[in-house]
């Protein structure tokens, strides 16, 4: 493979990991890349979304697999990573074997968080895990991105500033704001890039994030 293995992960649920992972994977596929989206969450939401996409005949098709067990995820990833150009792993919602396996095999872990105090506090857990994983995975890059960020007010800036408490993770200043278009697209197994009517603001935010991570 010539691309990256990116884990969209957090030990906290409800931060929009699956939606973000779907958007990244589909965006890369739309750019002509051969993408594998690994669903490492027991809930299997990413797999369900891609099944809906497949049933609707939406192209490009995205290869997917569901490995909620860390050992299985590690084995399969080591065996099959050469077949794809980009791999995106949707992992977490809690500390799990799958999240840990994803961390030690990834080039980059993208940590979505909302501009809320409890979300910022939860970053401490994933930061500790990332530090542990780095003992085994030299060069594991970790970036936190505001997801479902506010469209107004100062909470985004405050949350970003609070992240300075966790030096294991760098803040990526390409927030994805809370928009219905993103949620609606994901529910149909689509990226906001494919959604009609077009949401130019959401598309611009996603493209800025993609440019920063690839």
């Amino acid at each position: 493979m010539n691309g990256k293995i990116i884990t969209v992960g957090s030990t906290k649920g409800g931060v929009g990991k699956t939606t973000l992972a779907l958007n990244i994977a589909i965006a890369r596929a739309l750019a002509g890349r051969d993408v594998w989206l690994i669903d490492a969450d027991r809930q299997g939401t990413a797999s369900t979304a891609l099944a809906i996409r497949g049933e609707a005949g939406k192209l490009p098709a995205i290869a997917t697999a569901h490995y909620a067990d860390g050992g299985q995820l590690r084995t399969q990833l080591l065996h099959q990573r050469g077949k794809f150009q980009d791999i995106v792993i949707d992992a977490g919602g809690r500390d799990s074997t799958a999240l840990r396996a994803a961390l030690v095999l990834s080039d980059l872990v993208l940590v979505p968080f909302q501009p809320r105090s409890i979300d910022v506090w939860a970053v401490a857990d994933i930061a500790a895990l990332i530090e542990e994983a780095r003992a085994m995975r030299d060069g594991l890059q970790a970036l936190a991105v505001l997801n479902m960020a506010d469209t107004a007010g100062t909470d985004n800036e405050d949350a970003a500033a609070a992240l300075a408490d966790y030096p294991a993770i760098s803040y990526l200043a390409t927030p994805i704001r809370r928009r219905k278009s993103i949620a609606n697209a994901a529910g149909n197994g689509m990226s906001v890039l494919e959604q009609t009517p077009r949401d130019d603001k959401a598309i611009a935010e996603l493209n800025a994030l993609l440019q920063a991570i690839y």
Binding site: G70, G71, R74, R94, D95, S96, T97, L99, R100, A101, V104, E132, A133, A135, M136, D138
Partner: protein
């Protein structure tokens, strides 16, 4: 430059597996025996241990299980011989 960094190298697979399985949903170590049980110590010569290990391996069972089973078989035989 006179000082070079110590080469890191890849961590052993066992270390990775240990990190992964340390998650709350990871494989847990075998349960400790019930409180009502007792532990016994068996003193064997090196040769006897080797013989037992050899037989257990041939039968494809863990050595401790083989020893435990042997004790019960012997006990049963002793009770029947009374």
């Amino acid at each position: 430059m006179a000082i070079t960094k110590k080469p890191g190298g890849k961590p052993p697979a066992a270390t990775l597996a240990q990190f992964i399985e340390a998650a709350p949903d990871g494989a847990k170590p075998a349960k400790a025996p019930d409180d009502g049980s007792v532990q016994i110590t068996l003193r064997l010569s090196r040769e006897q241990l080797e013989r037992i290990s050899h037989v257990a391996k041939r039968q494809g069972i863990p050595r401790a299980s083989y020893i435990k089973r042997s004790v019960f078989i012997q006990l049963e035989a002793d009770e029947q011989g009374k």
